[in-house]
Amino acid sequence: MASVVLSEAEKVYIVHGVQEDLRVDGRGCEDYRCAEVETDVVSNTSGSARVKLGHTDILVGVKAEMGTPKLEKPDEGYLEFFVDCSANATPEFEGRGGEELGTEIANTLYRVFSSESSVDLKSLCINPREHCWVLYVDVLLLECGGNLFDAISIAVKAALFNTRIPKVRVLEDEEGSKEIELSDDPYDCIRLNVDDVPCIVTLSKIGYRHVVDATLQEEACALASLLISVTSKGALTSMKKVGKGSLDPESIFEMMETGKRVGKSLHVALQKTLDEEESLGTSRQKVGFLG
């Protein structure tokens, strides 16, 4: 992970600040930085989203392709995640430097989406055992400014909300062979229901308290962090601990409660922004990468 070097005095200043609920940029322990979300930024994908959370910049593209269902789940489609840490984010990611972080994030995303209820995979099935939709979710890290997992999960949810999968019809011949017909109308498509898609909330333990949405400097002072994925209804789908330090059970419980609370407000804010964007339709001025 990209990290900054801090002096002892700077770390002490940050830790004392967190104790008093006043972080370096004036936020409280449970406040997020100002986030900007935009969908439909990449034209040749089925769905895309870009999220800017402070200095963290994430781009997610979703491509829907036809494939064969997995053997153990013949009547469901599936999601494939790939995370690319571009060298744009930090020089450490040059060449193969970002691979380790990329696989860690991809594995976390698989775990978060492993729950049955997050995405309705049965709607992605075309022909049981033969054809299904595979959603390839590609995440691109453009800038690393702390709190990667949260920003990535927000972007993935926004991209899935934006995904439009073309409607297909299965035609059966007299001989029994099936033919798949794609509808000609580009607006004739199915949308995914993202109400139960979870978002990751990272809680970093600094001193005796924990903070949400840590910046790079705060991450350097944190001993351990807890990543929890929360759905919009407040249900926990997965939990992961990162960092060299240890967490005692009481703090884990407190962090879980904070995470659930913060997660619910995060979903509300995100859904509001996505609905606002949807309602503006074609009249919205697209910003993309040239703003």
Binding site: V5, L6, S7, E8, A9, E10, V12, Y13, H16, G17, Q19, E20, L22, R23, V24, D25, G26, R27, G28, E30, D31, Y32, R33, C34, A35, E36, V37, E38, K52, V212, R261, V262, S265, L266, A269, L270, K272, T273, E276, E277, L280, R284, Q285, V287, G291
Partner: protein, 294 residues
């Protein structure tokens, strides 16, 4: 209570870029011809090719009598003798420290350019060399002055005055060096209750004003006591104001920062970083500065 602000992106133009002050600026990009008149001397950022003066960096052309130079808008720090810089120690080598100052090469702080504790004046011995790490380690922040520049452009620093030395508790803000205005003094004690060091290299250090004149040991001992909440609020507000000024491309100097601080008082500290609040505050600051200029 959690506060999450999510919004759609909007194209915004920086306040500092609109409305030219004092005539149009001649902006050039690398490769642009500045002039074909051979009477001019070429300064920084230019070169001569086929009797034409061509720019080698992207920026504004400045002309002083016969000297033409191009001042780059976004650049690494280019050291000049006498500049005040704030730097971070990256390496501890045999008789020197390597300091990161946002320039092309790491700056150098020689052991002989550093004051000894107690202000003794003597040759540095082998014991001093071994004790180097006890004083400055990797990651420490220092304030120093540029003593000289090596032939390859690397800057040599010195802390031979009691006001320079290791920095204690505070907040560092990194900005582009071209936004820091050159002034007589870069150490400011603001009336709002915090102190500021505006490094010419773009590193700005905000720290709580030391209470009384500490017996100026040159910063050998760091004070790790908790800073009171009122001081923290001032420091956080100043930090956000500086970030707002930088995002809107306004020059940084003590008056502009102070005006921005006063303009931001009606808002909550964390709201200053919202784009619309930022614009409003910086607009007010700019108006006050224009009024000051008369």
């Amino acid at each position: 209570m959690a506060a999450i602000s999510m919004r759609l992106p909007v194209v915004r133009k920086a306040v500092g870029l609109s409305a030219p002050r004092g005539g149009e600026k001649h902006l050039v990009v690398p490769g642009d011809t500045i002039t074909t008149d051979t009477g001019y001397m070429r300064g920084h950022g230019t070169y001569v090719e086929e009797e034409k003066l061509i720019a080698s960096v992207a920026g504004a052309v400045e002309r002083v009598n016969k000297l033409v130079c191009v001042k780059a808008l976004k650049t690494r720090y280019n050291g000049e003798v006498g500049d005040i810089v704030v730097g971070r120690i990256t390496e501890v080598q045999q008789k020197r420290w390597k300091v990161e100052t946002n320039s092309r090469l790491d700056s150098v702080l020689l052991l002989s350019s550093m004051n000894l504790p107690g202000g003794e004046l003597r040759r540095r011995s082998a014991e001093d060399e071994l004790a180097m790490r006890d004083y400055l380690q990797e990651g420490d922040l220092i304030s120093a002055e540029v003593q000289s520049i090596f032939s390859d452009g690397a800057v040599s620093l010195h802390t031979r005055s009691l006001k320079y030395g290791k920095l204690g508790q505070g907040v560092l803000v990194q900005v582009s060096p071209s936004l820091v205005k050159r002034q007589k003094t870069h150490f400011h004690n603001l009336p709002c209750g915090a102190s500021l060091i505006l490094g010419n290299n773009g590193f700005i250090w905000i720290y709580p004003t030391p209470e009384q004149k500490v017996e100026e040991a040159g910063g050998f001992t760091t004070n790790l006591e908790p800073v009171p909440l009122s001081d923290r609020e001032v420091i956080s507000r100043l930090r956000n104001c500086i970030v707002a000024l930088v995002t809107q491309k306004l020059m940084l100097f003590d008056t502009s920062i102070l005006y921005c601080y006063e303009a931001s008082l009606p808002h909550q500290i964390k709201d200053i970083l919202k784009p619309e609040v930022m614009e409003a505050i910086v607009l007010e600051t700019r108006q006050r500065l224009l009024y000051l200029e008369g």
